[in-house]
Subunit: 323 residues, 2 copies
């Protein structure tokens, strides 16, 4: 259940434990001692001294003395070559992964373009270009307590799913290999990546990227509660010693930059389950209001309110957060 | 299940929905059209132009164009008069609440000290000083999507528990009233606040604050998974339309600043349950290694590693993260 125990810290707590076999009695006996020592001469300067120290704001005092606790890498997103990840140290999966997809990175229209298609990795071509097969690897910027490991997924019914899709970097071996960093990995139900999620990825590459100037894609996990015997409950599996949370859903928020400089928005939510066999996937069934994704994820997608989504013939637009 | 729907955003999604009744067919028909339009003259300059634009790092491009999604108030803690809160927008409860407790704020040794004890609020004295009874109130810095409301707790089996304890501000009506802000509130099982949590609060005030220069206290909720039919699962209740998560445990990390300038650490974890009747509470049973709290909370308490805990006669110390 728990890896990387800090034995030094444990020893500290055990040390304290040994000293306080009966804390109540210590409190009462020592308090009376302390009280008996108090007298007016001693207390007056003490009150004044403390008062002076307190002119500094409480937050600054705490920050200076002990520092604030940090959710690692939550505020400062992790930078990779071609995508950005905000990591969720509580659930050991990303909060969100942001990509910026552009036509020229996917398609070769120039006959002089000599870029080789290196992703997905092909054994023979890889050897030819001296590239090793990408492996799942940890990001050492995340503290050992909060890292997921491939071993957490062993003996579980889940697979390693990738938020930043390697197929988005066909000509870039480095970016493609970086998608296998464990901060980009989420537990998915086997078959999930063949359902609407796959169709969504293809739709982005084959339609949106082809027809527009560029496309910003933000993907991430969601945890939605369910009703059980009249009680609303959150319930999800937790994997391995690293305690990796299995999301119930995933989202994709897509911002399309058109050739005429407008921004358009589409947002989707897909459940983390195997699609029914033979059923035709209709992507528009998964369209979800952005506010619903924002409510469930705890995120505000456009906090600076500088993004204005315009309408065109195809889609109706609206300025977000204009309520 | 869901409050404050952004109807503008919904309309946008519905608008898109209407346009894409059969996205697959649109993709195939329009792709062929796009492909047929491509020719060498058009593509070469396009590739070059995109290449120039891409000299900017992908993260900077995303930030400039659409901005990063934000977990509101997660990075920048919320400042109150006498405590600091990091708010968890996913669970609508605090990540942590930090207080700095000092002797002179609790005790009056100076006979000329005219401060009146205003907390907990007493009807008669309050009227005398023209103070209203503190009420639970929202913090408007938190987006409406992620705010908890008193109504979320109605018709539930849980009570409103306070992380920053009003009893820590006996002479400060403003700080005392501020503890009733909804960002400081967590759902607790009835009876929880009479068990070891209460003893811990008394121990901090009556022993640690009395005997030391000052005490830094960081309190917060935890979610621990449990084993169910050989499967490790996270399971907790979710309250009301605001979907407020009910934590399974709470922690207190206490840093004691002694009169000789040393810092000492004690860390506790208490389950969110009603204590067994008649059972004697032993605080040291709840002492928990800091690393265990850090693992479960996703927090690193001393990220700057500048805090050095010294040993003295009473407690054994250790430098944290020295592994």
């Amino acid at each position: 259940m728990f890896r990387n125990l800090s034995y030094a810290a444990c020893a500290l707590a055990v040390g304290i434990k040994n000293q306080f076999d009966n804390p109540q009695s210590i409190i009462s006996s020592e308090n009376s001692l302390t009280l008996s020592r108090l007298n007016l001469e001693r207390c007056l300067p003490q009150v004044k001294a403390s008062g002076q120290e307190c002119q500094m704001y409480v937050g600054d005092r705490i920050k200076r003395a002990v520092g604030f606790p940090q959710l690692t890498a939550c505020c400062k997103p992790l930078r990779y070559k071609d995508f950005i990840i905000s990591y969720d140290t509580k659930n050991r999966i990303p909060n969100w992964v942001y990509e910026h997809l552009q036509y020229y990175k996917f398609y070769k229209d120039d006959p002089c373009d000599r870029r080789a298609n290196v992703c997905p990795y092909k054994e023979e071509e890889g050897r030819l270009h001296g590239q090793e097969k990408p492996k799942f690897h940890p990001d050492c910027r995340i503290h050992g307590y909060h890292r997921a490991d491939v071993r957490d997924y062993c003996d579980s019914e889940y697979e390693l799913g990738l938020m930043a899709d390697p197929a988005n970097y066909p000509f870039d071996a480095e970016a493609c290999a970086e998608t296998q960093v464990m901060t980009n990995v989420v537990p998915i139900v086997p078959g999930f990546s063949c359902g609407p999620w796959f169709d969504l990825q293809c739709y982005i590459r084959e339609k949106l990227v082809r027809e527009n100037k560029s496309v910003y894609v933000c993907s991430g996990p969601l945890f939605l509660p369910c009703e059980n015997d009249g009680k609303v409950q959150m319930k999800f599996d937790v994997l391995g010693e690293g305690e990796v949370s299995v999301p119930t859903h995933f989202f994709k928020v897509i911002i399309i930059e058109t050739h005429d400089g407008n921004l358009e928005l589409e947002s989707y939510m897909v459940p983390n389950c195997k699609p029914d066999e033979g059923e035709e996937v209709k992507l528009d069934d998964y369209l979800t209001p952005l506010c619903q994704i924002e409510h469930a994820s705890g995120l505000i997608f456009f906090p600076e309110k500088k993004v204005c989504f315009t309408s065109n013939n195809k889609r109706r637009g609206a300025r977000l957060h204009a309520l």
